[in-house]
């Protein structure tokens, strides 16, 4: 938190910073300081976006990427949370897969691309698979540590009040007590998903990534920037919506 600034002042500075950057960028190109073939003019971007929208290309590729993203995030989050919670609650299961997890964890999601293509072909399932891997690990570790660090006193309370069965303790203690950590993991996973979505599509799977690759091969840098900004906007929207849900679910926190 910045000291001695009002909210209005902070907003003013933020607007000035962004405008200054865009102006510097525009003027550098116009004055010949930067070569126009490598970077597009910022002022050309709205027009290019408009053309992409008019042609229907924007909606087409965004819809396609969104479907990979949704399936990948949903799959990765669900499995990651389920396995993470099970690992924290079931010591035998935890011990049995601990080394396997340690072996697989450092492999970046993009390293799975060869297998994704061999197993699924160049199609949406391959993209969803790659996206789900990164999302899985984030959710796995977040859920594991969230459940693992629950105050054991809560479990004793549950047992003292007749809630000793596994399912009762899971739904009445583990899940609600770990909810803040699990939800933070889900939110981080939503971000991670967008990072892999583009990379997964660079290999020709229809979507934003493929459109960017296509544009860059024609040196249409303005189109590349349009989709970079599109991803930023989509991420911001998803993050905002999730934050609203998260706040609602965790309204019990002080």
């Amino acid at each position: 938190m910045m000291v001695g600034m009002t909210r209005a002042q902070r907003t003013l500075y933020s607007v000035l910073g962004l405008t200054g950057f865009l102006l510097f960028w525009e003027l550098s190109l116009r004055s010949g300081l930067l070569p126009g073939s490598l970077v597009p003019l910022p002022s050309s971007i709205p027009g290019v976006l408009w053309l992409e929208l008019l042609d229907g290309i924007w909606f087409d590729v965004v819809r396609s990427s969104l479907s990979h993203y949704s399936v990948g995030v949903l799959l990765g989050s669900t499995l990651g949370i389920a396995v993470g919670i099970s690992a924290a609650l079931l010591p035998r299961f935890n011990a049995a897969h601990a080394w396997l997890a340690r072996l697989l964890r450092p492999i970046p999601p993009l390293a799975w691309i060869p297998f994704a293509i061999i197993w699924f072909g160049i199609n949406p399932s391959a993209a969803a698979f790659i996206i789900s891997i990164g999302v899985f690990w984030i959710n796995y570790f977040a859920s594991y540590s969230a459940v693992h660090s629950i105050d054991p006193g809560y479990d004793e309370v549950a047992r003292a009040f007749g809630q000793q069965r596994f399912l009762a303790r899971l739904t009445k203690v583990s899940l609600p007590a770990a909810a803040p950590g699990i939800l933070s993991g889900m939110r981080a996973g939503l971000g991670q998903g967008w990072m892999t979505v583009v990379a997964a599509e660079l290999f020709g799977i229809h979507g934003i990534g493929q459109r960017m690759m296509e544009a860059s091969s024609l040196l249409a840098t303005d189109i590349v920037v349009v989709y970079m900004l599109t991803i930023a906007a989509l991420y911001a929207t998803f993050d905002f919506l999730f934050m609203v849900v998260q706040r609602r679910l965790l309204r019990w926190q002080s």
Binding site: G153, V157, R159, A160, F161, G162, A179, W252, Q253, S254
Partner: protein
């Protein structure tokens, strides 16, 4: 305790209970029989095993040897025992009402009955108007009252209390002690009350059970059980009060 309650069958009987872990025994040879509405306070130096004993009596910990029975008939709408902890340990993700309902979940009660059963003890501890509040909005004393309401809601035959007032400030502690004296008249439950505050023990209990160390490499044991033969109201004003407190202090000091 009334004479009639003595003639009723016991609600808890512990025989020759020993506690410890691995090969080490920390407390040995505890016998305890409790009748309805009876109140036993357990005192003793820190680390003597008071809280461990309480958990063993409740069945949360298995004793090394001996047996504990809480021969309460299973009913559709009550539990044999419940517990008030040192820290209130409320679930912050539940509202006050939801916390008090915890022990009622899983019993054969409709949602409306559960709600009513939770509001009764909340009214008893003066917090029925706080039913819809989140727990972090309550003071420490109010949270402990909710903990007491949660334990009473299941209409236990035995109520275990583990230093329930020790984390509270002196004024709140006095007030809650007074409330507990009132509460005793309205509940059938027998109470086992752990405390390190000897005055509190003499103030509230019918019997004070003193645990003491058994000597070098010996487990702790029950060294004395004292009857508190005073009416419950304003015990501090009775001439016997201070000498009895003094006597318990001397006993604890000599072990």
């Amino acid at each position: 305790m009334t004479d009639s309650s003595m003639t009723m069958p016991p609600v808890l009987s512990a025989r020759n209970v020993s506690l410890g872990f691995d090969d080490t025994t920390i407390l040995a040879g505890v016998d305890l029989t409790l009748h309805p509405q009876e109140f036993v306070a357990v005192v003793g130096a820190s680390g003597v095993g008071k809280s461990t004993l309480l958990r063993a009596l409740a069945g949360l910990l298995a004793p090394q040897s001996g047996r504990v029975e809480i021969p309460a008939a299973i009913t559709r709408d009550s539990r044999a025992w419940s517990m008030v902890f040192q820290a209130p340990r409320l679930f912050p993700w539940r509202r006050v009402q939801g916390n008090v309902e915890l022990g009622l979940e899983g019993l054969s009660l409709s949602k409306a009955e559960r709600r009513r059963r939770a509001l009764e003890p909340l009214a008893l501890v003066g917090l029925d108007e706080f039913a819809e509040r989140w727990t972090h909005t309550l003071s420490g004393g109010q949270q402990q009252r909710v903990g007491i309401a949660r334990a009473l809601a299941v209409q236990p035959r035995v109520l275990f209390m583990d230093e329930p007032f020790s984390a509270l400030d002196a004024i709140t502690r006095r007030r809650l002690q007074q409330e507990l004296v009132e509460l005793r008249r309205r509940t059938e439950a027998a109470i086992v009350f752990i405390t390190h505050d000897i005055e509190e023990a003499v103030l509230l209990a019918d019997r004070v059970m003193v645990l003491g160390n058994g000597g070098m490499d010996q487990p702790a044991r029950v060294v004395e059980i004292l009857e508190v033969d005073m009416p419950l109201d304003d015990r501090r004003d009775y001439p016997e009060f201070a000498p009895l407190v003094q006597r318990v202090e001397t006993i604890i000091g000599s072990y």
